[in-house]
Symmetry: C2
Subunit: 663 residues, 2 copies
């Protein structure tokens, strides 16, 4: 049998497994795996550097299935190359509760899945981060990091706006080891892509600093040649693979009918005939299975060579590299943070939490070489470029700060990719209101349980003159709504430092730091002996005697609540103040702690320069609230606070009135 | 004085007002207005069809300041061309609370502001919708609709991913009356754009089906020629205007220092000298003011000609056109909806609310010719292409359905533009989980108080096999968090119809319809004589006797609650069920109605296949909740509901246990 014939039969194994699994599930997308089977076979059998027996090898080439709906392509290949976990039984349980084969590939749930995809554009933006991480690490570890990143993407991936941000970043930073294999099948759910699209993708990618070529995606030799031609390139490359969706299906191939539904028994029978695939469902002949397993083991020699090089590294370098891969903090980290906080206790500082964030980040970065910061073109406002960072440029990756451009979504997608690569702790930054641009990757980071940190400054109407378009009102609640995501809104220098401490130690949960533009006093003046922010909420100012009023606040409103407390205490209403820097962590506390912090004062009032949603879980639906219920307004920030009545005086009046009613 | 000299002096008036206003506010962005003053002067004095005395003339050319931070450009021009509202005093009150000159231009707040901009990319996506609306209306009203749309955009606008979606839509639909004036100044907040960008924008736009040219943005004749060359084009056009940011400022021009901060007294003095502008702050010499006012009145003749053509229309056509502009519903609308609901009462239907939505939309569309629907490539799933719609194509705009491609963000941005154009009621659709891609335009629609409707189907873990990436869990809460946005989650065919009724009548508030993939029984079986969904929440099933248990639910979980009620009633716990189709409208109800609906049953439980956030406002922090607290899982939807315990049985058990504790 010729090589080409073997490749086609190996590809047909993917096709058969994909259509059979979708048919059995009566749900799924057979068209893409059948269309891209030839390209994927070439990639996995002739190009990709990997060792199926060691899916965690750090120097493997990365394969990202950005068109995640075609998950059966990946599951089929994992099964065929010998993944222990991906048994034939798992393929039969495609899209069933508890299986390793969910509808879309999920990192952390299934071994060898590099990233969770499905929401279009996510995978390609991750792939940019993976390729960037490789370049950054290669600059530091030239003998052990040298691999490529391949992303399989669809028309949908390239129509999504995020694609432009990702492509522009990759082109600018000359990520020459990044290759997009574009499934140019001309079909989307609504029908032919000509219904809604006329973009010349090859020309578009060239305009963005990429190589870009067309190839027949069913001509294995041509595909192989096209991919091999990318080696040694000085740019990333798009290979537009002209394919037939549902290749082999006699009636549905080349149409949207092959895209997202089972083909049906008749069509599958026809496809088996057309492909010359005479085996029953889920049966792979030994020779094909064997050929695939050989392909899966192809990289073991290169991996062993790599291990030799790795072993040759200085022991301390190796140890630190392993620490970085595990996400552990160096032993010097805790003392450095303690020393920083001791200085703050000794000399309290009134400053914006964005500035406090910068000071803390400087200490964090000093201890964590793996930290790579960046901003979506708000560097001087976000304060995330510290003095001990060097800017990464297309000509020098040996740095730790990225100018992402005005690309919040692309930044967050790439940052997810950097985190999943391993060896890097990525930090992004923009204004809090622009978190709206970033929700898809923020959600995916939470779903993947990865450690990424976003610094979102200008966190309320405290933005002032920029007005309602730039004043977050609902963003804090909307972010708190995302499961498995810590949203910190620290009230001063100390809480900001504590938030950083928790964020870097949260290996399974992304974190957001919402920081102010405006100055705030330091409220925490002596060492509590523990990280209070880690509890999510705590009493920051006790009542004198039995509390008549409990005030709850976060961020910039904690000092406002403390002002109100003074007036209430003076007026004979003993008042306590609870700082709530992180709802999510407070929700994780034992019921007894929660009850103690919430307390039993008859009057409960929350203060936050944002909407009420979420606060009722603490103050109850009958609690008082001083905050926002509309969009903001343009003006100097103190006047804007006055305009919306977010002042100590409003709190005091409300407390008196609630106290009177309760009495 | 030569024409070129006059143009430059007129442009200098913009420059002077902009730098003076920013200086007085000690806040704002002088650089863009100073850089683009020449281009804007050419546009407003020689090209744009408008009549400053009638800013609402429907056939005016539209000018969109997508780079909204340069708001002083627009405010200056409004003042100079004679806007009554935009007095010199307003310019002096730039960025002050209550002024007509907020930091970023706000539609509805200030006259003649076409759209609210600031979040980058928003304006250009709106402009695509405006240009599309013009084409659609021109197909229907050829004698009265014929105008162009000009958008001034920045590097940031073109870096944002939304730009790609907008550009691709415009290119595909051949929006030949759309022109982008790109302020190619090479500067962003972080510094020179070469820090983060290498895209050849002209080549990129060409790849997307646009004309694209370079021009010197300070050469008025060249700018005029470039814009005039776009007349009669068969494509949209990008004019990349090479400009110097902060043009005139001796030291800061051409640098990021001119971008977002006051120039300072010394630099302003230097700029006055360099520009030959000898007048004090906020003083415009009479000849220049006069020239600008003449320019503002340039279009009055054309407007009068237009009025003649308008008067020549058939009276009935004119009347309906005016109705459409006002957003009023035709008198036939209410009876048609009533007849549709009567049919449902007569023959109750078990169906998915996405199907019920399609049925209602068919009726709505039958009465509202101005309704233009569309989907971001999920047409067969969203059920928003009804039989009485015709697809809009690049060759035939006389239709009412848009294939937006896989461009959720671009769709929502364009839809905002269609709504603000007037004469069209735009409806978009995608999966609810992908509302995450659309939050910036959803927020802006709410801020602008415009009537747009989004149909977001597949609204919970009921999505089933597609798994957690496609199952919304936090999206409903996150959307409810946006002020001035109605989020409907109807429970059956009747509530779906009612939601449509409220949505189309909400002229000042956008609406979202969250609809199910899976079938639901019809719960509402007789005419209540009023639209109950409009109240936000109501008792859908009363208790037999004094209620021991109140169950609150929305959408697909209302029927689940009704099932639980049966079991609880049978077990001797009289139970009532409250349907909560719209939190926002319920919040608007009088306290007495809210209290009555919430009721006094000692056990309160909410059921929603989503996170708890928001429900505490109804059930209190001590209420019971059956829903989600994590991401979902891939599997057949009934099994997924079982997996997360969102079942009548769970509700029943929780009610019993809470009842026992309360007793």
């Amino acid at each position: 049998m010729t090589d080409a014939m073997t490749t086609r039969r190996m590809a047909n194994a993917i096709r058969a497994l994909s259509m059979d699994a979708v048919e059995k599930a009566q749900s799924g997308h057979p068209g893409m795996p059948m269309g891209m089977a030839d390209v994927a076979t070439v990639l996995f059998t002739k190009i990709l550097k990997y060792d199926a027996t060691d899916p965690h090898w750090i120097d493997r080439d990365r394969f990202i299935l950005s068109a995640g709906h075609g998950s059966m392509l990946l599951y089929s290949i994992l099964h065929l190359t010998g993944s222990k976990e991906m048994t034939i039984d798992q393929l039969k349980r495609f899209r069933q509760v508890g299986s390793k084969t969910p509808g879309h590939p999920e990192r952390g749930h299934t071994e060898s899945i590099e990233t969770t995809t499905g929401p279009l554009g996510a995978g390609i933006s991750n792939s940019v981060g993976l390729a960037l991480a490789e370049r950054i690490l290669a600059a530091e570890y030239p003998t052990i990091i040298d691999h490529r990143t391949f992303a399989l993407c669809s028309d949908g991936d390239l129509m999504e706006g995020i694609s432009q941000e990702a492509i522009a970043i990759a082109g600018h930073y000359k990520l020459n080891k990044l290759v997009f294999l574009y499934d140019d099948n001309g079909i989307s759910i609504d029908g032919h892509t000509t219904l809604s699209d006329s973009v010349d993708q090859v020309a578009r990618f060239k305009a963005c600093g990429w190589n870009a070529v067309h190839v027949d995606g069913h001509d294995a030799d041509a595909v192989e040649a096209a991919i091999k031609a990318t080696e040694g390139s000085d740019k990333p490359t798009l290979i537009a693979c002209k394919t037939t969706i549902g290749f082999g299906a006699p009636k549905k191939a080349g149409t949207e009918k092959a895209h997202g539904s089972p083909l049906g028994a008749e069509e599958i029978e026809g496809a088996r005939k057309a492909l010359g695939w005479e085996y029953p469902p889920f049966v792979i002949p030994d020779d094909i299975k064997h050929a695939w397993e050989e392909a899966g083991a192809r990289g073991s020699g290169r991996r062993k060579e790599w291990e030799t090089r790795y072993a040759a590294l200085d022991a301390a370098v190796r140890e630190d590299f392993e620490r970085r891969l595990k996400g552990e903090l160096p032993t010097s980290f805790a003392p450095a943070m303690a020393a920083y906080k001791a200085k703050l206790y000794a000399e309290p500082k009134e400053m914006a939490t964005r500035k406090a964030g910068e000071a803390a980040l400087t200490v964090v970065k000093g201890e964590l070489p793996e930290l790579v910061s960046g901003s979506a073109d708000l560097t001087p406002s976000n304060n995330t470029l510290t003095k001990n960072m060097k800017v990464i440029t297309p000509d020098d990756y040996a740095g730790s700060f990225m100018h992402w451009g005005i690309r919040e979504h692309g930044m967050c997608g790439a940052i997810n990719g950097m985190a999943i690569h391993g060896g890097i702790l990525p930090v992004g930054s923009t204004f809090l209101v622009f978190s709206d641009y970033c929700r898809p990757p923020l959600r995916l980071a939470a779903l993947m349980k990865i450690r990424v940190i976003q610094v979102f400054t200008h966190d309320s109407i405290g933005v002032g003159e920029d007005g309602p378009t730039h004043q977050p009102v609902e963003q804090i609640a909307a972010l708190r709504a995302i499961p498995n995501l810590n949203v910190f809104r620290p009230c001063d220098t100390i809480e900001t430092a504590e938030a950083w401490e928790v964020a870097v130690a949260s290996l399974k949960r992304p974190s957001i730091l919402a920081l102010t533009r405006q100055n705030l006093p330091q409220l925490r003046l002596k060492d509590a002996g523990e990280n209070l922010t880690a509890k999510g909420a705590y009493e920051i100012a006790p009542a004198e005697g039995v509390a008549a009023v409990s005030l709850f606040a976060s961020g910039s409103e904690v000092s406002l609540a403390v002002e109100a407390k003074k007036a209430l205490d003076a007026a004979g209403l003993p008042t306590r103040v609870v700082s709530v820097p992180c709802f999510d962590l407070f929700a994780d506390q034992p019921g007894s702690y929660r009850a103690e912090v919430i307390g039993t004062a008859p009057v409960k009032i929350a203060v936050e320069a944002a909407i009420r949603m979420g606060w009722d879980s603490i103050i109850g639906s009958d609690g008082g609230f001083v905050g926002m219920s509309s969009f903001g307004e343009s003006g100097p920030y103190k006047e804007v606070y006055e305009t919306f009545g977010i002042t100590p005086d409003t709190v005091v009046k409300l407390a008196h009135s609630m106290h009177a009613s309760a009495a």
